[in-house]
Amino acid sequence: MIEPQKEGWSNFYTLVLVLNVVYILVFFLLMNFYSS
């Protein structure tokens, strides 16, 4: 039986997570700027 092995962290994974946090921050700023 083959067990799953973590192939190691990549900077791309950090990039995708950081970028999405940035998106959420931008949404937060947009919401606060434009919401009534």
Binding site: M1, I2, E3, P4, Q5, K6, E7, W9, S10, F12, Y13, L15, V16, L17, L19, N20, Y23, I24, F27, F28, L30, M31, F33, Y34, S35, S36
Partner: protein, 575 residues
């Protein structure tokens, strides 16, 4: 529809189909046909994954969702990037190392054939029905607004997809999805810039966002823990991660897309590409809907965007009352337009209302929009009284109404090509995956005699044709069943959690063995169905996103409990 629209529409679709057939001609073995010869680069994998997820309903419904409820739906996708990273770290390496054709092959390696058959069977059941609805859902909307025959439209969409999917298998699906995504992006960008250009001369993009904000359409994030709100940051991150993990990690229509990657790295980068682009893409589609909302602050709208609703009212005893409501709506329009200008020019100003109360101009605009919602609700009730079978929830019709009534000649054809391309790209992936799973997990697995590669390629082609015909038949009969779309959504949401639970147990809980996982999966399935029924009949309040989380967690928990009791019994027996 003008001649130029027909030319653009037919030429775009014909080009995509012929290109798919031409690029993938020639003899193939099973690896070529099911995994596209493992030739796809990361951007092809990424675009293919995105095109599979983006169905026609994405482009019809999402702008309408934003028109009605604002930008909050984007939170639904917050779990996607987390799921992409987990899939890159754990799912892709093992699928790649085992050199599987379907995700379910791994389950036999880890557990037993029974568990593999259970998971692949659940996939065939839910995806088989969904393929029909992927065709039916845009057809019903397009036939209502364009007057085209519903069944003809179902047959055209289904047949076009079947032609190139049979001809070239996975590679044809992948190469056509690149063209389809190009058409989709081009169409949506053109539509967006045209909407902005159609706003009054003194209203720019930022002003449009101010007007949308004053009308509560810019409430993008909801940090509350309220179960009544289907889309919150928390349900998106937690529920969304589980949903996206099930969909991208265990649904063959997605797994097959990244298994066509040239190497493990290309597969992982394709998923990263999706993780980076998906949230902005959904945000953009929702923004198109919000801009349509702003456009209609200055332009007349029907009481209900579904043309069938208006037809049902005409000549009915409710026509007079309906026309009075339409007049009320028309009177509101000049107020909306005037207040929208004031929100931009003097956002701090106050206006005197008829009751003598001074209110900020933004609040006044918000109140007018609430009034409009009340008028529309009254109209819905009238339509319902005139004809109970008419769909009064018109959010799916908002964007297509805007396209048909406002876009210039030629571009209407392009936007219809966007919608049909999206329908075709999702359907192609589904048929391709259904055929691959039927061949690999059932036909080849249970065939006693040795057969050559050509035999299995031929079998996959026949299964593609059979699933294609079944999907078209489901699409053509879907109209007869009131709740078929709902049924498909139910099936999807109640099975995904169980399938993910089986895979998570396989990946991460080494102690759980075949018997325990099979029994826990069956028990969980019953519990999830009961929970869903209790929510459906309003005994409890449980938004469907949480079913994936509960299903997955329960399979693991029960698996652990059953395994420990089985192990204890075995120890006792040995002693």
């Amino acid at each position: 529809m003008q001649d130029i629209d027909w030319i653009v529409l037919v030429a775009t679709l014909a080009f995509i189909v012929l290109y798919g057939v031409y690029k993938t001609r020639g003899r193939k073995n099973v690896q070529d046909y099911i995994r596209g010869g493992n030739e796809s680069k990361w951007w092809t994998v990424g675009l293919s994954v995105m095109a599979t997820q983006a169905s026609a309903i994405t482009f019809l419904s999402t702008p309408g969702q934003a028109y009605n409820d604002g930008m909050g739906f984007v939170q639904f996708y917050f779990g996607l990037p987390i799921a992409m990273v987990i899939i890159c770290l754990f799912f892709i390496p093992i699928y790649h190392r085992l050199n599987v054709y379907t995700a379910y092959e791994y389950l036999e390696n880890r557990f037993d054939q029974r568990t593999r058959s259970l998971a692949s069977g659940l996939f065939l059941l839910s995806r088989g029905l969904a393929a029909g609805i992927t065709i039916f859902a845009p057809s019903i909307i397009l036939s209502a607004v364009l007057g085209w025959d519903l069944n003809t439209l179902n047959i055209i969409i289904g047949s076009l997809v079947v032609i190139y999917t049979i001809s070239g298998g996975t590679k044809a699906v992948t190469v056509t999805q690149k063209q389809q995504m190009a058409v989709i992006f081009l169409g949506m960008f053109v539509a967006f810039f045209l909407i902005i250009s159609y706003l009054p001369a003194d209203i720019n993009f930022s002003n449009a966002l101010e007007i949308a904000g004053a009308s509560n359409k810019m409430d993008i994030l909801d940090f509350s823990f309220d179960f009544d709100n289907r889309y919150t940051v928390w349900s998106g991150i937690l529920g969304g991660t589980f949903l996206m993990l099930s969909y991208f990690g265990t649904d063959q229509s997605q797994v097959q897309r990244y298994l066509s990657g040239k190497s493990m790295r290309e597969m992982q980068l394709g998923m990263i590409f999706n993780g980076i682009l998906k949230v902005p893409m959904q945000f953009f589609i929702l923004l198109v809907g919000v801009m349509v909302f702003v456009f209609y602050q200055f332009n007349p709208t029907p009481l209900n965007f579904n043309p069938a609703a208006e037809q049902a009212i005409t000549g009915s005893p409710y026509e007079k009352e309906y026309n009075l409501l339409q007049n009320e709506l028309n009177e509101l329009r000049s107020d909306k337009s005037e207040l929208s200008h004031k929100v931009v020019a003097a956002p701090e100003s106050q206006i005197m209302q008829t009751n003598g109360r001074q209110v900020p101009v933004a609040e006044a605009l918000s109140q007018i929009n609430e009034k409009e919602d009340v008028i529309r609700e009254k109209a819905r009730m009238l339509i319902n009284q005139a004809d109970k079978n008419i769909e009064t929830n018109d959010k799916d019709y908002v964007f297509i109404h805007f396209i048909l009534n406002n876009l210039p000649r030629g571009l209407i054809g392009l936007l219809l090509a966007v919608i049909l391309s999206a329908a075709m790209s999702s359907t192609a992936s589904e048929l391709n995956a259904l055929a691959a799973t039927t061949t690999v997990d059932f036909y080849r697995r249970n065939l006693d005699e040795d057969k050559d590669e050509a035999h299995f390629v031929g079998a996959t082609k026949w299964f593609t044709l059979s699933w294609g015909i079944l999907a078209i038949l489901i699409a053509c009969t879907a109209n007869l069943f009131d709740n078929l779309i709902q049924l498909v959504n139910i099936i999807g949401s109640i099975f995904y959690g169980t399938i993910l639970g089986i895979f998570m147990s396989a990946f991460f809980i080494k102690t759980i063995k075949a018997k325990a996982v099979f029994a826990s999966a069956l028990i969980t399935q019953c519990v999830v169905i009961i929970l869903f029924s209790l929510d459906y009949y309003e005994v409890i309040n449980l938004p469907y996103l949480w079913l994936n989380f509960i299903g997955c967690g329960l399979v693991i928990l029960l698996g652990l409990l059953l395994q420990s009791s089985m192990s204890a019994e075995e120890t006792q027996a040995i002693n």
